[in-house]
């Protein structure tokens, strides 16, 4: 009989069932009567089969809606022995839900399970083994092993494929049991099964087990050989769509050892791009994107593969909206990694009127990424259209996008600005505000070019009610104060409601008023005073107060300097905004199609720690081009010198993110632009995470403290005024002795502890950047010997050898005293080694001062990283000196070189502090107490001979420490300050 005939038989029957069901099944959902459980119990024990079945149905319905029917457990289990398959399935479903709550009674079901696993009908065997794995009760698990072993070798593929998944279930309950019983090997054997579905399920189970593995044997399961991968790729052709996804996802974890292999894999995976299932397509894209990293980017093969990728990605956009969303999030990543793939396909990202909002927002994002001078006209016309839509978020994003276009494509900036002006004319509140925010960005990219629009902006002043828009407007007024006649009035009107503004607006307002004052000092004095007093006296926010104080001091000490600082030329914002950090991007590329790629976050960020071996495991990274091949690239990177740390693993040709933050950008950040203008924030963030692991030294922050301390009319006048005057008075040694009176042997008491403290290791080179080589390190000083302690770990699959290390020129001439002694490093091995240093190397002043750029070479590549030398590592043993020498040196250094720092408060008294500092070669020359305030006079000599004199003031009641430094070389102050903080904090 043909199928259509047999279907014909089923159809009327199905209709019958449905109509019959209409009168019966849905009623189970409505019963909420009292005594229901009791009635059910009676029915479950009824003599009549059909009645029992009805009762079980009712139980399941109650379970679905969340009622607790666990008390019926024994009665339901009694129905299990029935030979009716439908009833059996229902009982099993009940068991899976409640077995855990009634473990002692669940054991009653074991016999039936074991018997069912032997049933002649494979469907029943499979059902039993499927269910038993879901019952997480220890007593039952123990009985599971034997039937499972049999089922793994069952003659029927349907049973085997079910058993394969059951191994993963069991592993989740008891991983050790799975290993002991040899199920892992049995599972591996299934990979060679003749049936494609068995293979696919075995692959899925193995992937899951090795992802959450706690032991090495399980983790090693995924270390597949090329041969096996080859077999799996063959099985790909015969699997169901889902099986194909399992296999592709597993293959994506494999990194081939040779280029030919990678190329061959790509060739075999690419037919999948034509599959109707989007998951198959995306997983294939993932495998290909990963393998492409290994190949020569300019080869014909790579170029033609890239071409092949674009059409399938575009096709995904004609699927259902949810898949479109997943695809768009992934395309967003792919476009950042390889912009070429979709650059011709701009139009498919045009927003359709009926697209759901989440699709619209994502499309807009990609549209901007693909914008270039060639297509800007089309894009701009679209964006203008979008800016008149209904959804507020979407409209805002569209307006912002217009601004981004202007910043990205200079030739179109003018058109963008006029478009924005048109939009402002619509007077739609949020459009106006958003437009003002982006116009501010445009001003920052093209200063002094479009100020003619300021008039129009000012007309809309009253309608701005969002902080970001207000702050932007205030920034514009301050920046162009000289061209806005009534700038003072405008700012004054803002100042009236100062207290009610958000911090961002307050900060901006303060800065803008100061700018205005510096530009038009004559008629705005009152205004600036009002603003400063509001910021310093009325405000609770420390940032605001601090900024108020800097300005105050700056203006009162040196208006010219103030002008230089506040009106300094600002760095232009870069054109590419909100790019993902390159390492994260690489990791996400390895997760294409998965949730991580949808959230744009690494899995660890949203997956619970529980049972997630994945979290502990090294994050996924793209493979790099193989050593032999990559020689040229490595040489190129080496040629680029120490500056370019980011480009080591990235695709050549991608502009490297500037890694070490420049002083200007920090100043710019602090003084000027608080709004997340995008560019600076993103760049700064990337820089912070990509460069040294220490926080970049906040130069201005330090200066700030000194500004505060310096001219303040407080009692702490610069150090020994009395001493100085006394010395000048001529009474010489006596008065000196007087001044330093009471300094005793106590000072030296703490000498000789000697060990110092060892700072924790820092990661200098993460494994993703080091192609598997991870370097942690720290600086140590043992007596006179300065050394660098390195811990190298090999996370790669192969042995690493041929290590060598070299330093770039640095501020203190640090250089390795001997070559790096390193034996070859086996995979997963880690070794700690001590590299003695001297200071005879070439000297070049670095910025930040203490930066040390290091190159480490091995058989794979040359890697560059930068670290910060802690200043105390440079303090030498020769710092001690005579009191008199100290005093004369102090006098010799000009007073303007003196700087004061607040160190905060610590529990130690003066002596302990002195001892602690001594162990770091900070020598206390003298100690003195004035009105119960302890003063320590200390000296430090750096490796290059620079002397730093210090006065450490300790107020016992509050334990507040104040440090005054004096040296001929003020640049080293921040470092010394850091060192003091580090020592005192222990």
């Amino acid at each position: 009989a043909s199928v259509s005939e047999s279907l014909g038989n089923i159809r009327p029957w199905l209709q019958k069932v449905t109509t019959q069901a209409k009168t019966t099944d849905s009623k189970y959902f409505t019963t909420t009567r009292k005594g229901e459980i009791f009635e059910l119990k009676a029915e479950l024990n009824s003599e009549r089969k059909d009645k029992r079945k009805e009762a079980v149905k009712k139980v399941i319905a109650s379970m679905t809606v969340g009622k607790d029917v666990s008390t019926l457990f024994p009665d339901v289990v009694n129905c299990m022995q029935a030979d009716n398959l439908e009833l059996k399935k229902l009982v099993y479903l009940y068991l899976m839900n409640y077995a855990k709550t009634q473990p002692d009674k669940a054991i009653m079901a074991v016999n039936t399970f074991v018997r069912d696993c032997e049933d002649p009908n494979p469907l029943i065997r499979a059902l039993a083994v499927r269910t038993i794995g879901c019952i997480r009760v220890d007593e039952i698990t123990a009985y599971l092993c034997d039937p499972l072993r049999k089922c793994l070798k069952d003659e029927d593929p349907y049973v085997r494929k079910t058993a394969a998944v059951c191994v993963a279930k069991l592993h989740d309950i008891d991983p050790l049991l799975v290993e002991e019983q040899g199920f892992l090997d049995a599972l591996k054997e299934l990979l060679a099964d003749s049936n494609p579905m068995v293979v696919a399920n075995a692959v899925a189970a193995i992937t899951e087990i090795s992802d959450s593995a706690q032991t090495d044997t399980a983790a090693d399961m995924l270390c597949w050989s090329g041969q096996l991968i080859n077999k799996l790729l063959t099985a790909l052709n015969e699997c169901t769509e889902w099986g194909q996804v399992f296999i592709l996802d597993a293959v994506a974890n494999y990194t081939p050892t040779e280029n030919n292999e990678a190329q061959n894999m790509i060739e075999r995976v690419s037919p999948r791009l034509a599959h109707a299932n989007a998951a198959v397509v995306l997983s294939a894209v993932k495998v290909i994107m990963k393998l492409l990293e290994m190949l020569d980017p300019n080869s014909d093969f790579v170029l033609s593969t890239i071409k092949k990728l674009s059409a399938p990605l575009v096709t995904l956009l004609s699927s259902e909206p949810e898949i479109q969303y997943v695809a768009l999030r992934n395309i967003n990543l792919i476009v950042q990694k390889r912009p070429d793939i979709l650059k011709q396909e701009l139009k498919v990202f045009f927003v359709k009127y009926n697209d759901p909002i989440y699709v619209k927002l994502e499309k807009l994002d990609i549209l901007i990424r693909l914008t270039s001078a060639a297509n800007i006209a089309n894009v701009l016309a679209e964006l203008k259209e979008y800016a008149t839509e209904v959804d507020v978020d979407f409209v805002r994003k569209a307006v912002r996008a217009i601004g981004r276009c202007a910043i990205k494509v200079e030739s179109a900036a003018e058109r963008c600005v006029s478009t924005l002006l048109d939009l402002i004319q619509t007077k739609v509140n949020y459009v106006v505000q958003e437009a003002i925010v982006v116009i501010k960005d445009i001003f920052r990219k093209y200063p002094n070019k479009y100020e003619s629009v300021i008039g129009t902006l000012c007309e809309n002043l009253d309608t701005l009610d969002e902080p970001e828009a207000r702050a932007s407007m205030i920034w514009i007024i301050g920046e162009y104060a000289e061209r806005i006649d009534n700038a003072d009035e405008l700012l004054e009107s803002f100042l009236e409601g100062f207290a009610d503004e958000q911090t961002a607006v307050q900060l901006q307002l303060l800065t803008s008023v100061v700018k205005l004052f510096l530009k038009r000092p004559t008629d705005t004095q009152e205004l600036v005073q009002q603003a400063l007093s509001l910021a310093t006296q009325e405000a609770d926010n420390p940032d605001l107060r601090d900024r108020g104080y800097i300005y105050w001091r700056l203006l009162s000490t040196d208006p010219a300097a103030a002008k230089q600082v506040v009106l300094a030329e600002k760095p232009l914002i870069s054109e590419e905004t909100d790019l993902l950090e390159p390492n994260l991007l690489d990791e996400l590329i390895c997760h294409i199609g998965s949730l991580a790629s949808v959230y744009h976050k690494p899995p660890a960020a949203f997956v619970d720690g529980r049972g997630g071996g994945q979290v502990a495991k090294a994050t996924k990274g793209l493979p790099s081009r193989l050593a032999a091949e990559a020689g040229g690239a490595a040489a190129a990177a080496a040629g680029a010198g120490g500056g370019d740390f980011g480009a080591g693993t990235g695709a050549p040709g991608r502009p490297a993110v500037s890694v070490i933050p420049t002083q200007e950008s920090l100043i710019g950040d602090l003084l000027d632009i608080d709004m997340s203008g995008g560019a600076t924030a993103a760049a700064a963030m990337a820089a912070a995470s990509a460069s040294t692991n220490q926080q970049p030294v906040d130069l201005l922050g330090e200066g700030l403290d000194s500004l505060l301390g310096g001219p303040a009319p407080s009692a702490t006048s610069p150090v020994p005024p009395s001493g100085a005057s006394a010395a000048a008075g001529g009474s010489g040694a006596d008065s000196l002795a007087d001044i330093f009176g009471g300094l005793g042997g106590g000072v030296g008491g703490g000498l000789g502890g000697g060990g110092g403290f060892d700072p924790p290791m820092e990661t200098w080179l993460p494994a993703q950047k080091g192609k598997g080589l991870q370097i942690e390190g720290r600086f140590l000083r043992r007596g006179p010997q300065l050394s660098m302690e390195l811990r190298l770990r090999n996370n790669a699959m192969q042995q690493l050898n041929g290590f060598a290390v070299q330093f770039n020129k640095n501020s203190f001439g640090l250089a390795p005293a001997q070559p790096l002694a390193m034996n070859p490093l086996a995979p997963q091995q880690s070794v700690t080694t001590l590299l003695p240093l001297n200071t005879k190397g070439p000297v070049q002043k670095m910025d930040p001062l203490l930066t040390l750029q290091v190159a480490v070479k091995n058989n794979i590549d040359i890697f560059y990283f930068a670290c910060l030398i802690p200043m105390y590592a440079l303090f030498t043993e020769e710092g001690d000196m005579d009191k008199r020498v100290f005093l004369s040196t102090w006098k010799d250094i000009p007073p303007e070189n003196e700087t004061q720092f607040n160190l905060g408060s610590y529990a130690h008294d003066a002596d302990t502090a002195s001892t602690m500092l001594r162990s770091f070669n900070v020598f206390t020359i003298a100690k003195r107490s004035v009105e119960s305030t302890d003063m320590l006079y200390q000296c430090v000599k750096l490796t290059n001979g620079i002397l730093v004199l210090a006065e450490l003031k300790i107020v016992p009641q509050t334990n507040a420490y104040t440090l005054s430094l004096k040296s001929r070389h003020v640049e080293i102050y921040p470092g010394v300050h850091e060192a003091y903080l580090a020592v005192l904090k222990g």
Partner: protein, 440 residues
Amino acid sequence: MIGGLFVYNHKGEVLISRVYRDDIGRNAVDAFRVNVIHARQQVRSPVTNIAHTSFFHIKRSNIWICAAAKKNVNAALVFQFLYKMVEVMGNYFGKINEDNIKNNFVLIYELLDEIMDYGYPQNTDTGILKTYITQQGIKSQTKEETTKITNQVTGQIAWRREGIKYRRNELFLDVIESVNLLMSPQGQVLSAHVSGRVQMKSFLSGMPECKFGINDKIVVDSKRQEPGATSGGGNLGGGGKAGHIAIDDCQFHQCVKLSKFDTEHAISFIPPDGEFELMRYRTTKDISLPFRVIPLVREIGRTKMEVKVVVKSNFKPSLLAQKVEVRIPTPLNTSGVQVICMKGKARYKASDNAIVWKIKRMGGMKEWQLSAEIDMLSATDKAKKWTRPPISMNFEVPFAPSGFKVRYLKVFESKLNYSDHDVIKWVRYIGKSGLYETRC
């Protein structure tokens, strides 16, 4: 992988709840209801993360279907599975609505048990599922029968069973294309593409090998070994040059041997029995747009608007378009509309905020016009700004706007005694409107 599947009605009451993994608890069911179904604002994403659990949802009429997962699952796979699950349920009991789900909940649980194991999708082919999930229970199946079933469920050719016989071997091919267009008011094509599918209905005996030929440029070129062949050829409704079209991308049914397509550009397969979608394709070049809409909107003061719309048909005069419908959106504060049209019927539908103009039949190379006067209530400032949605069109034409042509479909069945010539074949082309919009 997927931790649990939940089905809710529009109120957020649970209709089906199937937990596959231990890491998804009962509270997950409530978390989704509270945070998504009962959330005040519109859904902003089909994926929601609540307390380290990710929820994927789709909606069918007012039923929410949701998958929950704790791990970093394959998101594309989850959504594809949800669609498939809806399709399977639809094949079993028709429309997805609350009544049908409640009435069939036992069946649904049985299906969910079969199509997914421990969060991993298994065989989801309805044709196969129907052979053993029947709600009748498997009573008297012989060993051979069950083996046949299990082999089919897991087998290589999971989509066809052995031993099918027909007295008359017959097959039907429908080429169904939907034309998508976005046009600017000035008549510039902003984006246009055709997404087409080839729907096949086969009634063939045995295990027939089929070979399918189309006029795709690459396929044709690779066949002739000489790129840019210049042979002419019948041209249906306009379309590609020299009878070949450039297909941007195509996707095939499970049964098509993809590796063979990749290497030889040959589409060969053993078809499932009955109806299925053989391939899907997409083209963007040389599309012959069947219609053009020329809008003219004039606002006269704050309370009056004039709309003039011209529709031009752009295909052979001998062909007839059917079910032509033009939707002209009107402002929300419309109080009255006067419409005049030359052909067809036009009505203002207040509930849709649109003038709907229906034309039953329209020949090629015609040009018809509608004009309307719209009166509006005087707009208060509070009334939302009206943003002129695009004018959309629906239609059906008897040709493939992409120029797609079936060149051959050959059937080989070596074991049975019928040949390609004995098979009766039918081919039909239908062009439909997808999103066919003109901004105004």
